[in-house]
Symmetry: C2
Subunit: 283 residues, 2 copies
């Protein structure tokens, strides 16, 4: 990006996982995003404030974009680092495209990501209602453990493209835990760290509550892959017959996860663009 | 405001005390701000995110505005409640007016607030450089105490229009304290609560470091009246001859405070508008 530029942006969120959107259809506005610029945008007091940045760019303008999708989600974490996919972010990304009128919400939308092509579908006209994303096939692995509030509890190892340890903790009061400190985990099993989900069953047998501690971020209000991992672990634990749908309540809102007969997990929930603006940046 | 409106806004900050600005020159866009709307705007994930809202309105459009200023700063806390004045907010407010080109930065600017008329002055052309605000005459009252990290320490009672207890704590390591929990204080002296400043002298005798716990907000990155109260308490403690200027370093940046011979305290520091936008609101 040039030394001083005025550019458009928007802010959106899905279950309070929030993002700065940077429209850049032909890649001419931002090009390769500078990590320092991303971190400055995401700073909650000096910048706009967000968990991450979603650059909205056509795949044709991205050298390493996967084939098969017109649009590519160039996703960055709030610290400026690269990331492959984000289950909440891609729904916000899809909402933006629908509000801009550049996609047809009546047909499933392929979106290129660093984690491959993901397919998103809209409810209704694409401007309201939930958005669903196919999160792919989970790997349900063995058991492990996590240590929470001084207690070691059993957890299920689930891979959703990224590693998760899901602890079904009906014996713990999720509200009484206070802010989640970094949980202990098996470093031999997870040499690059792990996302830890604490899951409590609700009275309704297809509803669970969840809190999540994300590697690199700490406790967050919501985590798309974490919500999917939680549903998969719970379904396996309950011996549920597929297709099965779980409602997962996280601190930032509610999501639904369906584990289909073809093994794919799909995540459904709200996504909204809350503000639009432009900004002068002198880098 | 109408049930669904598209309106302009901006975000700015002074030493990381951040605000949503709502331009509303003739009072026709927002009128009386609804506390729920203010709180939604200030929500850091579902809204834009800020410590408070600054509605920019002409005094002629505000029934109870004080006489003598063209512009009125309608300031609200992040929870939607009314507030009189904000030493960082008014500098951001003044920056906005200068960037909009509706004031002459070469002459001091009177701004109406619920705490009366305040006078602001610009460095240079008003688009860069520091902004100074006359914070009025402090009341240097007796000594009191606060309790921090299990220790009771002496503090100076200073009134800057709002109550402060300033503790000069050279014996405490400000960095080692961790997040500030609500300090203990004399409830008989401060029946409506108190802002507590912890102040540590730097090597330079006219420089101090400060952390602040604001009543109603908890620990913040900066507090304009708190910075002034700290400088006044330190000047009194050091027996400094006026005029005297202190540099006060807070977690969000650096500010200068001058206590003049006419007893007025003036606060000088950075203020910037970082983003502008518009937003649709369905209330």
């Amino acid at each position: 990006m040039a030394a001083s530029t005025r550019f458009a942006w928007a802010k959106g969120h899905g279950t309070e996982n929030d993002f700065v959107l940077l429209p850049d259809p032909d890649g001419s506005v931002h090009g390769a995003l500078d990590p320092g610029f991303v971190a400055a945008l995401c700073h909650r007091r000096r910048g706009i404030g967000a968990d991450g940045v979603l650059r909205v760019v056509r795949s044709s303008a991205v050298a390493d974009a996967p084939d098969g999708a017109e649009w590519f989600m160039d996703y960055r974490n709030g610290d400026g680092s690269l990331s492959q996919m984000c289950g909440n972010g891609i729904r916000v990304f899809a909402r933006w495209l629908a509000e801009e009128g550049v996609v047809d919400p009546a047909v499933p939308l392929a979106v290129g990501t660093r984690g491959g092509i993901k397919v998103v579908s809209y409810e209704g006209d694409g401007r309201g209602g939930d958005i669903t994303v196919d999160m792919g096939v989970p790997e349900l692995l063995g058991t492990t453990w996590v240590e929470i509030a001084g207690r070691r509890v059993e957890a299920r190892h689930v891979d959703m493209g990224n590693p998760h340890a899901v602890a079904l903790v009906d014996g713990l009061d999720l509200d009484a835990l206070g802010p989640l400190l970094p949980p202990g985990y098996d470093h031999a099993l997870y040499p690059e760290g792990v996302n830890v989900e604490l899951v409590q069953r609700a009275d309704d047998r297809r509803r669970v509550r969840m809190r999540v501690h994300e590697r690199g971020s700490g406790e967050t209000r919501s985590c798309g892959t974490g919500v999917c991992a939680a549903a998969v672990a719970e379904a396996a634990s309950a011996g549920a017959t597929r297709p099965v749908t779980y409602h997962v309540d996280v601190p930032g809102g509610g999501l639904q996860v369906t584990w289909r007969t073809d093994d794919h997990v799909v995540l459904t929930g709200p996504a909204m663009v809350v503000a639009r603006g432009d900004m002068a940046w002198t880098g």
